[in-house]
């Protein structure tokens, strides 16, 4: 098995708002191994993006604050290093692409300038060498006429092309980890298929790790080696992708898989999970899923189940499986 690249240990990231404290990421632990794709799934607001932003140390403070835990990158705790060191890691060893490429590209700079900037900053390339490398990168992400595209502005490109440019920028310094936060949510399915294929290819060629945030279970099945399911700021289940889909353990994971309509498997009626996610402010000491769970027991309403080993490489946080992991 390959080595661990990133390890989240009991990460807690909170937001201090007028209405109260939002425990956006609440005691999250999981690892990403070298060369592996880990998908983070879960309902809107469950803390996926904030987990990624914490890793990048891009949490705006105030209102946000990382209040506890460690994030080990190649064994080093990123939460303890100086901002200047972090700046070298960001973009160089860890890169991130976002959901909406238009808002993360600078509208007044050509795409070439934007690809070349980190190259010149992080490597010791001259301007003309950087330009050459930028053209190569644009070709690598599958955009034709790279020598012309390099001088165009973001608004002159389609959504799919902009997302490719974002990927080109993020790859410019050969990162060991690429974080992609809903990279295809704003794109059409035919363009999504192109981008996912590109990410898969690049990951293979470069033996890069990929932390892919998505709410689309289809994308998870297609891309993930390992899956982390979050609910209300916590990891409630994790495991190898085949295990998660074939043998989901947590009632929420099971519900999600049943609620999603699947082409070619039409049912008269969809399974539904009743209710909605709890208010993130003032969450209690209960299982946060208990008011929607059909298996909820007294203990679920009184105390929170811990994330425990359940099978060779899986974990689940649910009272139904309490004690089983030890077997």
């Amino acid at each position: 098995m390959s080595s661990t690249l990133v390890e989240f240990r009991n990460l807690k990231t909170y937001f201090y708002t007028e209405a109260g404290v939002v425990q956006a990421v609440n005691d999250v632990s999981f690892s990403i191994r070298a060369g592996e794709t880990v998908c983070i799934v879960g309902e809107s607001g469950c803390g996926k993006s904030i987990t990624a932003m914490s890793l990048m140390r891009l949490i705006a403070s105030p209102p946000g604050k990382i209040v506890g835990g460690e994030i080990l990158f190649e064994g080093r705790d990123l939460l303890k290093i100086k901002e200047s060191e972090m700046r070298m890691i960001r973009g160089n060893e860890i890169a991130m692409i976002f959901q909406e490429p238009m808002t993360s590209l600078n509208p007044v700079l050509t795409v070439g300038d934007q690809i070349m900037e980190p190259l010149i900053e992080h490597t010791l390339l001259s301007k003309s060498e950087a330009r050459k490398k930028a053209i190569q990168l644009i070709e690598q992400v599958g955009i034709p006429r790279a020598d012309q595209i390099i001088d165009s502005y973001p608004h002159e490109l389609s959504g799919g092309m902009r997302q490719r440019i974002m990927i080109a920028i993020s790859l410019s310094c050969d990162p060991k980890l690429l974080i992609a936060d809903e990279p295809t949510t704003a794109l059409d399915v035919t363009i999504q298929a192109q981008i996912l294929d590109l990410l898969r290819q690049l990951k293979k060629d470069r033996n890069m790790s990929l932390m892919l945030i998505t709410h689309d279970l289809g994308v998870v099945a297609e891309m993930a080696d390992y899956v982390v399911v979050m609910y209300a700021g916590k990891v409630i289940e994790e495991g190898p992708v085949k295990e998660i889909f074939k043998n989901p353990r947590h009632p929420y994971t099971k519900g999600l898989l049943l609620a999603k309509p699947v082409i070619g498997q039409r049912k008269e009626r969809l399974f539904t999970i009743p209710g909605q996610v709890p208010n993130p402010i003032g969450l209690g000491e209960n299982c946060h899923y208990s008011d929607r769970c059909e298996h909820a027991m007294d203990i679920c309403r009184a105390s929170q189940p811990a994330l425990q080993k359940d099978g060779a490489d899986s974990k689940v946080a649910c009272w139904l499986y309490e004690g089983e992991g030890a077997k």
Binding site: Q192, A193, L270, Q276
Partner: protein
Amino acid sequence: MSDVILEVKDLKKYFPIRSGVFQRTIGHVKAVDQISFTMKRGETLGLVGESGCGKSTAGRTIIRLYDKTEGHVLYNGRDIHQLPPKELRKLRPKMQYVFQDPFSSLNPRVKVGEAIGEAVVDHGLCSKAEIREKVLEVLNICGLAPYHYDRYPHEFSGGQRQRIGIARALILQPDFIVLDEPVSALDVSIQAQIINLLSDLQQQQNLTYLFISHDLSVVEHICSSVAVMYLGSIVEMASRDELFKNPLHPYTKALLSAVPIPDPTITRERIFLKGDIPSPANPPQGCKFHTRCPVAADRCRTEVPVYREVGPEHHVACHLV
């Protein structure tokens, strides 16, 4: 009863592109470019296709939220684009539109109960005295509680706001509803609740739906027939089972193959489309799909394929079919 409720004939909706100080028209966005289809009462037609292909514009022009450029829309046999304003106003409650974005379609300062009742009072369908009763009834049908009446939109979750949008349409006792991406913004667990609600309402009230979506798995679940649009035109239309089992148009095939299947043990043959969707202001000559079509032949670049029936209620526009 399989009577026809809606007949769309060669419908076009062009938007002018203006430029310069005099705002001269320099061209047109052919958002809807000669589409034709028929809908039976009680059915759900799915309108699918990628962003900008004209789905919302078609939905809006069909119920005359937009004036047409050309063509006809017969609603129960009457051309709604020919109706005088008074007649149209009488018909309005019967044809409703539920918007894509439940957030922006609600006034933040109006209590939800009042927002739902507004149009009923406007149309004089109900007295002021009865209105609260009626709204409460509709809230209940849509899975909301009586106390929600006096709440404001920001106090509701995405799924609840979508329920409010549906309640607002439903209270007018429509026959025909255009549902524009009603579940696209919602999480899977909430999406399933709304889809089931829509199915129940349809059965209880014999509603006819035009269901606009880019999510083919949702469309397969809820629709009885499906029309696929590309750059303003319908390129293929068939019953649900026929379209999903026997897609004929190369674009439909590519679209279906691009949907990720939530099963990691399946690896599918995928048809990759090259390039991007061309602009509807300047669509390609001949078959509009030829710039991306994996099987395009020479004649595709010059000759427009005719949209025709190739099997029982299965229509396609492609030279190779």
